[in-house]
């Protein structure tokens, strides 16, 4: 094993202490570290805020760092990541000849106007001018320089977004012919919103381009209503109508138009699943269409038409686990009958009202006996767990088919409390006892 390898491992060991411990042990680790001929990489770990936590030895580490003949990139890295940013920046300017790309790297972090001036005087490339516009106060100076050249549409957009020479850039953009994509971002992100919108409309945007405003991924909300209204004046496909409903833009009108197109269950699946303003209407529509199992589960899960969907589901061949899921969503009598028959549990001897009152009394007198996170945990149980504990026949069912089925057959009208939080369970039990 080489000496270097041992030194590196020792350094790592001490660094771990330095970064994770505090007080005397940390101070001792630092003392030992300093004896190990630390290089700039090592010292960066002491000075930089990331990737590790900040140590109390930043100042001392920085002083040491300067004595180790750091390279230009070493110092730039400190500028980018450390609380010693300003000191490192000064050091950088005093000791190194900086290329344009170095200046840009530093400007992006420090937003230093003086450096931006330096860069401006060096005939910077177009993308370097863009950096000056974005990160410093010399926006107009950079924009003016860029306008003297032949900026492309992207560069003109940067001028519009960042400088006060936006109108000049806008005129130039019109001469060059903006795409609808160019106009869309000007509407969404700059203060030439109305100008760009008018021009966008003159360019006959497609449905898809208008829908981008409705979807509003940028979350600016700009021209959303206007785009939706324009779309409704056109011939729209089912997907587009579903999208308008999903985004809650003129949903009533869109739904009426959608119905006229006689949508199938698959066309409405998304509308139900996303819990839109028309979820229940869409579920009701599907229930009339002899829906398949997938659609019925979707309705059961996401709409208010649970019992109706459950009634149709139990006409189909179901696995036991599906029945177990079903009874948690809909405790209607037909569902319970099918389930109890499958697991051969005699419900006739269960008095649900009496059982829930018995549990409520027990828990309200001793709330510490309620543990909503576990079916059974020693002497504590969740609501469903308590029902099973107090019912011998159900304990057999639990052993064979699990807690959910056993508890659901005992308290079918309280399944929503099996997985509720503690406050909800206690509050509903109080209501039962009142």
């Amino acid at each position: 094993m080489s000496k270097n390898n041992i030194t590196d491992r020792l350094k790592n060991f001490l660094f771990e202490i330095l970064l994770k411990e505090e007080g005397e042990i940390q101070a001792e680790a630092w003392t030992h570290l300093k004896m190990l001929d630390l290089d700039c990489d090592d010292l960066s770990r002491v000075i930089n805020e990331i990737p590790f936590v900040k140590t109390p030895y930043v100042d001392e580490g920085w002083e040491l760092f300067k004595t180790k003949n750091p390279t230009k990139q070493d110092v730039i890295d400190i500028v980018k990541c450390s609380t010693k940013r300003r000191e490192a920046e000064t050091f950088l300017l005093e000791h190194f000849e900086l290329e344009n790309e170095d200046l840009v790297e530093v400007i992006k972090v420090t937003e230093n106007d003086e450096l931006a001036w330096q860069l401006l005087r060096r005939n910077p490339a177009n993308e370097e001018l863009e950096a000056i516009m974005r990160y410093t106060n010399l926006k107009d100076e950079a924009a003016e320089e860029l306008l003297k050249r032949s900026p492309d549409n992207d560069e003109l957009y940067e001028i519009i977004e960042n400088s006060s020479l936006k109108l000049e850039a806008w005129e130039r953009l019109l001469q060059q012919g903006p795409t609808n994509e160019d106009l869309e971002r000007i509407v969404k992100f700059t203060d030439l919103e109305d100008l760009a919108w008018d021009y966008f409309l003159q360019q006959h945007p497609t449905n898809e381009e208008l829908m981008d405003f409705v979807n509003d991924y940028s979350e600016t909300g700009r021209k959303r209503k206007e785009a939706a209204q324009l779309l409704l004046e056109r011939e729209l496909g089912m997907e587009e109508l579903v999208n308008l409903i999903r985004e809650d833009q003129f949903a009533d009108e869109a739904w009426e138009r959608l119905k006229k197109k006689s949508p199938a269950c698959d066309d409405l699946f998304y509308l139900i699943w996303r819990r839109t303003v028309k979820t229940d209407e869409a579920a009701e529509w599907c229930l009339k269409l002899n829906p398949d199992k997938k659609t019925l589960w979707n309705i059961l899960e996401y709409s208010d038409k649970k019992d109706e969907a459950a009634l149709q589901l139990i006409q189909m061949p179901l696995e036991l686990y599906e029945l177990a899921d079903l009874v948690l969503k809909s405790g209607s009598e037909p569902v319970l009958n099918v389930l109890s028959e499958r697991v051969q549990f005699d419900r006739s001897k269960v008095n649900e009202a009496e059982l829930i009152r018995k549990i409520a009394e027990k828990i309200l007198n001793h709330p510490e006996l309620l543990n909503v996170n576990h079916w059974h945990a020693g002497d504590t149980h969740c609501l469903g767990g308590w029902a099973i504990t107090l019912h011998e026949q159900a304990q057999e069912t639990e052993k064979q088919f699990g807690s959910e089925i056993a508890a659901s057959l005992l308290l079918p009208h309280y399944t929503h409390l099996f997985f509720a939080d503690r406050e909800t369970v206690l509050s509903e039990l109080k209501e039962i006892m009142e």
């Binding site: 060991f13 771990e16 990331i50 990737p51 590790f52 996170n373 576990h374 088919f401 699990g402 939080d421």
Partner: protein, 168 residues
């Protein structure tokens, strides 16, 4: 065949492997071990945080795939520790599902949350920081069906065990 992945954020820093093992045993009644092809230095890992050292051994300290580092539990497919990033205190668990049983993976997710992790869904290719991650966190709700179903393996009925079989 599919791959499951879950991301966790640890406000208080990564858990010790011993704590993960203890919590996993409390939840499942089973034993879990962490294996890695990353060479471990006894001096560095003696009684300390193993996960931290996994990262120390990797070249890129901010964001590194740890490859063959995985949790194993007898009778189940391994769960991989995919990324570990001390800068934002996050790690990912990955599980090649196939038609296998997801019990071990689900139980590892529950374990990670019970040792201080919070799961999150974050748009890919975006930098995560302590501040920005807050908006993506999904609070752990142990009383909900998914987590309530993960109980001690030997105390579940065959029917309950079968529900962990993944059907693509």
């Amino acid at each position: 065949m599919g791959i499951f992945m879950c991301q966790f954020y640890f406000r208080q820093g990564f858990p010790k492997v011993a704590d993960i093992q203890k919590t996993f045993h409390r939840i499942t009644g089973l034993k879990v071990k962490l294996y890695s092809n990353v060479y471990m230095d006894e001096l560095m890992t003696n009684g300390r945080d193993l996960m931290y050292h996994l990262l120390e051994k990797s070249e890129d300290k901010r964001w590194d795939s740890l490859n063959e580092t995985y949790f194993a539990c007898s009778g189940f497919n391994d769960v991989y520790l995919d990324y570990l990033n001390p800068a934002n205190k996050t790690l990912d668990l990955k599980y090649g599902a196939g038609k296998s049983n997801t019990y071990f993976y689900d139980a590892m997710m529950k374990t990670m949350q019970e040792v201080g992790g919070v799961s999150y869904r974050h748009p890919p290719f975006e930098e995560i920081t302590d501040d920005s991650i807050e908006q993506f966190l999904e609070p752990y709700q142990p009383h909900t069906p998914f987590w309530m179903r993960i109980r001690k393996w030997d105390e579940m009925s065959d029917f309950e065990k079968e529900r962990f079989l993944f059907n693509p």
